[in-house]
Amino acid sequence: MPAFTTLTGTMVPLPIENIDTDQIIPARFLKTTDKTGLGNNLFADWRYDDDGNPRPDFPLNQPQYQGAQILLAGDNFGCGSSREHAPWALIGYGLRAIISTRFADIFRNNALKNGLLPVTVDQATLQQLFSLSTEDPATAITIDLASQTVTLPDGRTLSFPIDGFARYCLLNGVDQLGYLMQQMPQIEAYERTHPDRVNTLQPQ
């Protein structure tokens, strides 16, 4: 997994609540067996018209937001399905962090496992960031994971919460499968002392 330490970049605002994973990447694009190539279809039904042309009023299509690496989104981002294609599509497009007031549980887990940082802020801060990015799209902010802070252009810093283990893994690029594999002795010990609850190969 790619490490995430600090990021200084511009923001693209999507002030919509409850953006579900069907909007992030519609189901018809899930027939792939790869993780790559999903970025072009990020937000496909909002981003393109029926003929496949970019809609000029959608923020991701606007020239002033090209190259933004931070997405600002309304409350409860990533609700709905468990598809990890959602973070893959966001990363494929070039995003590295999402700022919202709340993230759906499965989406947050999936994002963290792919080096995409979910940053939770309060409503007032989010509104302020929306204003900053709208008034001056060139505004860059800095997200520092080690200190768990967001620094605004005027030097003000805000802190954000993150689960300690997820932070450790992101900072060091540790992949959680490796961490789990190290627990094999404990897993074997658990299996020895617990009844086998299911055997799918042998109907009773």
């Binding site: 002030p15 919509i16 609540e17 409850n18 579900d20 069907d22 909007q23 519609p26 189901a27 018809r28 899930l30 027939k31 792939t32 067996t33 790869d34 993780k35 039904d45 029926d50 309304g74 409350d75 409860n76 609700c79 709905g80 399905s81 468990s82 598809r83 990890e84 709340r102 759906a104 549980d105 499965i106 887990n109 999936n110 496992k113 792919n114 689960d163 300690g164 283990f165 450790y168 959680q176 499968l177 961490y179 789990l180 594999m181 627990q183 094999m184 404990q186 897993i187 658990y190 299996e191 617990h194 086998d196 609850r197 299911v198 055997n199 799918t200 190969l201 042998q202 109907p203 009773q204």
Partner: protein, 475 residues
Amino acid sequence: MTSSPPRTLFDKVWDAHVVTPQQDDTPATLYIDLHLVHEVTSPQAFSQLRERGLRVRRPDHTLATMDHSTPTLPRNAKGIIPILDAMAAAQLEQLKQNCDEFGIPVYELGSENQGIVHVIGPEQGLTQPGMTIVCGDSHTSTHGAFGALAFGIGTSEVAHVLATQCLLQSRPKTFEIRVDGRLKPGVTAKDIILAVIARIGIDGGTGHVFEYTGEAIRSLNMEGRMTICNMSIEGGARAGMVAPDDTTFEYVAGRPYAPQGQAWDNAVRTWRQLPTDEGASYDRSITLNASTLEPMITYGTNPGMGIPISERIPDPASIGDLSQRQALEKALNYMALKPGQPLLGQKVDVVFIGSCTNSRISDLRAAAQVLRGRRVADGIRMLVVPGSQRVKRQAEAEGLDKIFREAGAEWREAGCSMCIAMNGDQLQPGQYAISTSNRNFEGRQGKGGRTFLASPLTAAAAAVTGRITDAREMF
């Protein structure tokens, strides 16, 4: 005598599966009893195993089925279900190859046990009380109806479970949803869960596991409990649970993977210990009264935008919070509906009976009860999609398929179908569907399609009249 502090159902299942406990800086390692796999969220996980030279640790705890991208078209003359989409065909083939290579049993398209992943676990008796169950699919919450801790995971986590049979998890909080009283005739489990989500909102359960309690839940059959647990994720919770009882045991008994003989007696004795102890507390609680509930229907673009069927669509002007007002305006704009408009009488184009929420035999019986001796209205397309091949055979044995066909509905092969619209079954832009599925998100049932979520009774009634109708008027 030893006395331990009272625990909830969730606490007991969680505690029994902790391999290494949660610390300040590390999550718990949780053992997983059953891992269900399907074609859409697993290919990249198998690739990861291959890249690292890992095997599937417990193929005997793992089962795969084909459901999401599978067509539900009728079989051809050779008895084969044709796959018209090359990418879907490749994805299904990939699942077959992965399962063969890693030694995992797979229910292939059209084979006798194939079906939607959350329908087959319970019907095979694989889903049992007290288990931990995961799948790369958010509606894994369905299996919680048996008193299992069951939740959806992403593809990275699918790889974790394949390789280690474990997951890293932080302990969620508990949320009791108590439904007292009895449902009135014509009001169903689907209406309970739509009412719950309308009340708490689609993020109301974030970070929590629901436990559904109360007389109304206890008096539901297992299929009704599954419908409710299925949509826990629509209320933001990753899992929902119902304490196991005699209804549960009767359902599980005799199924292919259920314990038998002495093992069954031992299992039931253990399962009887699972219900929440008296005096145990939940982090949050709400109470509803089932006797006041009406059939529910959604009008907007998330499952929390639901109202009793005879009510009018809310007016954004009455909402104080700016972003919530904008969300409602956006939803009504997408749905092309007006504030204050009644939903009764609203025209629909398509009726979909199916999905892991409502595609089991009792759901099909409910829809058939409305359609018996009636016809689907002119110009309405109705799809009836059984949740599994077993459900399909059962329905055919009961003659339900005949009722549907004679009414003018399409009787399809088992799969997710129009719930997710990645398999050829989909709405056309602008069409209205009344669906027994679980998500009414923009474009969920096809780009530009508009979805009303409701119970099988309500959906079947709309098929007959071509308009949103209170099914209770038709009995």
